[in-house]
């Protein structure tokens, strides 16, 4: 049996066969599994201890799109990731990249939480909660409390909601608490706008480090990970995807499956919050109005699958490089002075310096020209590859135009300040020179 095409443990003749196949391969590449997230640290160490398989953990803090990019870029190499933890939207959009595989308890997973072909399924979820430093702020009893002046510049959200699924869940939570729904998040957006107007919003992503240093006294975080007292409703979905490189990836599926089954009994990441529960309710049902301790949504969600084949990926567009000044290769003067006709020796002398430029040209071509072409080309086509100006129109409107204006402002202000202060400083340096050679005194 080929480990890469197996779709269940039976294909190996039971779990023992799978373990054997996995141990033969010896190594497992995982990506974006933070050790302090849903107990991954312990799961990974237990897994590699139990089966004697080395787990290589790459980019523990990568986001979902980073994972997909890594899968495409590293495809075919032995560093290609085998195991993913993806946000639902990204997992579903890239389902074609995963290999189908069904764990032993596949039938127990509610239909709406899995792909019928076995490419992914929801593995874990959590409750959105509000954590606070009891030593720094009074205990909030409802979401609206956070608008009070005591919380000035103290309330943080775990990421950028337009970017991170977990932060988005924070907005959904605020929305539900303010009469919105999972389909209508406007009240949540409104809440955070009020928070900002009140000067309470703190644009820092809370991490264990910022919490410990007191930089983020109040943070919305996924309940699974709340370090201090957590309260408040809401939840967040996470997804795991798996790439079918072979048995070891399959085996981890079973390990995860075991974890899922035994979750309430295992040591949860935070006391008092169920680590994992298989809740079949749709998102909206799980989220309740704010302010009631213990009225939590149920955990859910995570998917598995694996990347079997990656589409030929376009590289990620690089930032445009600043132009490096090219140093012209000097033509030996003596040769040119000789006359109109160059001798054969003169031609050779010209050719040699020209050869010297080649590496530079190659460098420019690969690292400057090509990315620029990708960026410029991409700017004028839509997702299907047909030419369009819509991207450019969007780019010069609304928030994007604002970003441009702010970027230009920032650059202009710092350029002027920097130039004036820098020039004065340079002048001071020059006049302060002991040899008195200079004219600018």
């Amino acid at each position: 049996v080929s480990a890469a095409t197996a779709t269940s443990a039976e294909d190996f003749g039971g779990l023992e066969g799978l373990v054997e196949a996995a141990q033969e391969e010896g190594k497992l590449n995982v990506i974006a599994l933070p050790p302090d997230w849903t107990n991954y640290g312990e799961i990974i160490s237990t897994f590699s201890e139990k089966y004697g398989i080395e787990v290589v953990s790459a980019q523990p803090d990568a986001n979902s799109q980073d994972e997909i990019n890594a899968a495409k870029q590293l495809k075919g190499t032995d560093r290609a990731p085998d195991v993913f933890d993806l946000g639902p939207a990204v997992a579903i959009a890239n389902a074609d990249l995963f290999a189908p595989y069904k764990v032993e308890t596949w039938d127990d997973i509610p239909d709406e939480l899995k792909d019928p072909d076995g490419r992914y399924f929801s593995d874990y979820g959590g409750l959105m909660s509000i954590g606070y430093d009891a030593g720094a702020v009074p205990a909030p009893t409802s979401l609206a409390d956070l608008l009070k002046p005591e919380y000035k510049g103290k309330v943080a959200l775990n990421g950028d909601p337009t970017q991170a699924g977990a932060a988005f869940a924070g907005v959904v939570m605020a929305s539900l608490a303010n009469g919105g729904s999972a389909d209508d998040i406007a009240p949540g957006v409104e809440f955070f706008a009020q928070l900002k107007d009140a000067g309470n919003f703190l644009p820092v992503d809370p991490t264990p480090a910022t919490i410990a240093s007191g930089q983020t006294p109040v943070g919305h975080r996924l309940g699974l990970h709340q370090r201090r007292s957590g309260r408040g409703p809401g939840r967040q979905a996470g997804v795991e995807g798996r790439r079918a490189r072979g048995g070891r990836a399959r085996l981890l599926l079973h390990a995860g499956d075991q974890r899922r089954r035994s979750a309430p009994g295992r040591r949860p990441a935070v006391a008092g919050v169920p680590l994992l529960r298989r809740g079949p309710e749709p998102v909206a049902q799980g989220l309740r109005p704010a302010g009631a301790r213990g009225r939590h949504g149920r955990g859910r969600h995570a998917r598995r699958g694996g990347v079997r084949q990656a589409a030929p990926g376009r590289g990620r567009a690089g930032q445009p490089h600043r132009g490096a000044g090219s140093q012209g290769q000097g033509v030996p003067r003596g040769q040119l002075a000789g006359g109109d006709q160059l001798s054969a020796g003169g031609r050779r002398a010209l050719l040699l310096p020209a050869l010297g430029i080649v590496p530079f040209l190659l460098y420019v071509g690969v690292f400057l020209l090509y990315p620029t072409l990708v960026v410029v080309g991409g700017a004028f086509v839509d997702d299907t590859g047909s030419p369009t100006l819509a991207n450019l129109r969007t780019a010069v409107s609304g928030p994007y135009l604002q970003a441009f204006v702010r970027s230009l402002q920032l650059s202009a202000i710092t350029a002027v300040i920097g130039a004036v202060l820098g020039a004065l400083l340079a002048w001071a340096v020059v006049t302060g020179r002991p040899d008195g050679r200079c004219a600018a005194w």
């Binding site: 988005f168 919003f201 644009p203 930032q319 410029v376 997702d383 970003a403 441009f404 920097g418 200079c438």
Partner: protein, 188 residues
Amino acid sequence: VVTSASGVLAQFGGVTLAFAFLATVGFEGLVTVFLRERGIDIFSGGAWIFELPGLVLVYTYFQVPLMVIVFLPALDGLKPQWREAARSLGGSSWTYWRRVAGPVLAPAFFGSMLLLFANAFSAYATAAALVSQGSPIVPLQIRNLQTSEVLLGQQNLGRALGFGMVVVVVLVMVAYALLQRRSTRWLR
């Protein structure tokens, strides 16, 4: 000493710089706490360190040394003879600055300013490390469009923004090249 310090500081950007600033003037930074204990709350106006004013402050930190480095050769290029000539022809110090040093240095000054502009415009890591909420400036917007796990399929819009940045930088480079031609006339 200032020159070598500038050499180091001009390259002191990115994550380390952002961290250094948070450690000094962040919410629990040295300076913040020091001032707070004396009754001055530098954040009474809101979390400015994570918004545009904060970025200005942090960017200035690597812009000034860069200016020193690129502007020093121009100042060095001023010949003492010019000043002596101005003096001997009856010019005052002011005349010298207005008629000789000013015009000679101006192209180099504005050229350096353009360089600083492009430097700030393209800076990414410093801002990325400092601002984790919202995307106030273009490079962060592009990051957002490329990596968002909430809104998918916006890579090409990100490329369009990138194209906008290319246009801006090309304009800056053309202006820089023109100024460069002027400034090299006297300063060699």
